[in-house]
């Protein structure tokens, strides 16, 4: 009648063990630390010769803007890029993970990566974590089969679309797309529309702001065109004309202590390390 409880190791997927402990802590008055979200506007658009991705650059922690110029367009492969909205850590790590898996896959298969491969890896991972990995992505790229644009939701569902928006500014951006999208746009028209959609998010959504990043992936070109801060529609409104210089004497020095490192560090001869 022995009660044998074998503690099997978790097989993968999200471990909910800490949730009870977190709930207990919260009940006892300890506040959860706020996580850094990218409250965001991210968009993607398929044009005549490929895909254009766009993103704003504001990262928020609750009501505070913690990063005024962060990068939301992540590299996955030379021909595949991914915009991320949601929890910054989740988008960053999940795209990094897929990037490294895809690179190994490229070495194993000796072929350029396909967008659907990245898509399948992302959705399989997110589905297994039951939506707890809060990453909402716009995945775009060009491979041998053509240009592709997908959206990936935190629970693991995906859509294949000619134009897509995600994040808190998605409605503002989508209103621009829905009213101005045409099939087979040129690269310039596409860039203009994507920038306009991101600007709509920047100016109409509080969770989005600062600058516009673009990434253009074109059929036939090996490398993508990553235009960091393509538009900066929110410059500092006032800059002191005399400039800012902080001459010695601006700050009062209360005490000085100088420790020469020569006495603590021994410099010896040696050979350079093999790289």
């Amino acid at each position: 009648m022995a009660e044998t409880m074998i503690d099997l190791p978790p097989k993968g997927g999200f471990s909910f063990d800490l949730c009870r402990r977190n709930a207990m802590l919260e009940k006892n008055g300890i506040a959860l630390p706020r996580f850094r979200k990218t409250g965001t506007t991210i968009v993607g658009l398929v044009y005549k010769d490929g895909v254009i991705l766009g993103a704003d650059t504001r990262a928020t922690e609750g009501e505070i803007v913690c990063d005024k110029n962060c990068e939301k367009i992540h590299y996955i492969a030379p021909n595949i890029y991914c915009c991320g909205a949601g929890t910054a850590a989740d988008t960053e790590n999940v795209t990094d993970m897929v990037r490294s898996q895809l690179e190994l896959h490229r070495y194993a298969t000796n072929r350029d990566s396909r967008v659907v491969t990245a898509l399948t890896m992302l959705k399989t991972h997110l589905f297994g974590y039951r939506g707890q990995v809060s990453a909402a992505l716009v995945l775009g790229g060009v491979d041998v089969t053509g240009p592709h644009l997908h959206t990936v939701y935190p629970h693991g569902s995906t859509d294949t679309l000619p134009f897509a928006t995600m994040g808190s500014g998605s409605l503002a951006a989508m209103s621009v797309f829905e009213s101005r999208y045409k099939e087979n746009m040129t690269k310039e028209e596409g860039m203009e529309l994507v920038a306009a959609a991101i600007c709509a998010g920047i100016f109409n959504d509080l969770g989005s702001g600062s600058n516009v990043d673009l990434c253009i992936l074109t059929k036939g070109e090996k490398k993508a065109e990553y235009l960091r801060n393509y538009q900066k529609p929110n410059p500092r409104s006032y800059v002191r004309s005399k400039g800012y210089d902080f001459v010695k004497g601006h700050t009062a020095v209360l005490s000085t202590k100088i420790t020469p490192l020569k006495d603590h560090v021994a410099i010896i001869e040696g050979e350079a390390m093999e790289e």
């Binding site: 592709h148 294949t160 209103s175 009213s179 100016f203 109409n204």
Partner: protein, 250 residues
């Protein structure tokens, strides 16, 4: 609830004798039959207000021929989103107001600003009694050459602007207005701008239908169009064959 239920005839204290429901009195907690966005813009000669003609009952589109834009007096038009029965009640209030004003027969009538203020008082007062009229009202009018466009919400927030929207319109239509509105829109340009926004709302708001009315308020008077349909485009090649080059994916 334990204990004897108080009802008439039980010989209980006066307040309880007339309550059939136990517990404190409760008022409106949620709306039932609702209208979606209303859009409004000022243009060169007056004000344009638009709305679709749907009233939803939760997730069903229950009524498809509801007029959510109503003229009030000679100079003013009110459009409402939210609970339709509450809108009908508001129309009664405004009707009485206009009638009383007319009966003074003093050669003057209430301006849109006055009606806006009246509506704000009603909404704010009811909200303070935890018994709100569940609407967001868009009010537009022209009097003595002055164009007026304002909003009152169910909690009594009131403001005026050159272009306004209620509900989903705030997220989908306002960005378009902020980009493309300017002071000297002609009537055609104004209607085009509203139709652009209404089309986006039809694509992206699940409670919107493709049957809309546009009202034009000028110094000369108020004209509410007959309901009509917007042009939509579902023809993109990408929609016909979304997973080309990736058979089996979605």
């Amino acid at each position: 609830m334990t204990g004897k239920q108080p009802y008439v005839g039980q010989g209980l204290e006066a307040p309880h004798a007339f309550t059939l429901m136990p517990g404190p009195t409760k008022h409106t907690q949620y709306p039932y039959v609702t209208g979606t966005s209303v859009l409004g813009i000022k243009y060169k000669d007056g004000v344009l207000i638009a709305a679709d003609t749907a009233a939803s009952y939760g997730s069903t589109v229950r009524y498809k021929s509801v007029e959510r834009l109503k003229a009030c007096g000679k100079h003013c038009l009110i459009g409402a989103s939210g609970e339709i029965s509450d809108f009908q009640q508001i129309l009664q209030y405004v009707d009485k107001l206009i009638l009383n004003d007319y009966m003074w027969d003093d050669g003057n009538n209430l301006s849109p600003k006055d009606i806006h203020n009246y509506l704000t008082r009603i909404m704010y007062n009811k909200r303070n009694n935890f018994d709100p009229l569940w609407n967001t009202l868009v009010l537009g009018g022209v009097k003595n050459g002055e164009k007026y466009l304002g909003v009152v919400t169910m909690i009594g927030v009131q403001y005026v602007d050159n272009h306004v929207a209620s509900g989903f319109g705030n997220h989908l239509a306002r960005p378009i207005f902020r980009d493309e509105w300017h002071e000297n829109l002609t009537l055609e340009e104004g209607i085009q701008l509203l139709e652009k926004a209404l089309t986006v709302l039809f694509y992206r708001d699940r409670s919107a239908i493709n049957k809309v009315q546009v009202a034009n308020i000028t110094e000369a008077g108020i004209n509410i169009s007959e309901p009509y349909a917007l042009k939509t485009n579902w023809d993109y090649n990408a929609f016909k064959n979304p997973t080309v080059g990736a058979e089996g994916s979605w």
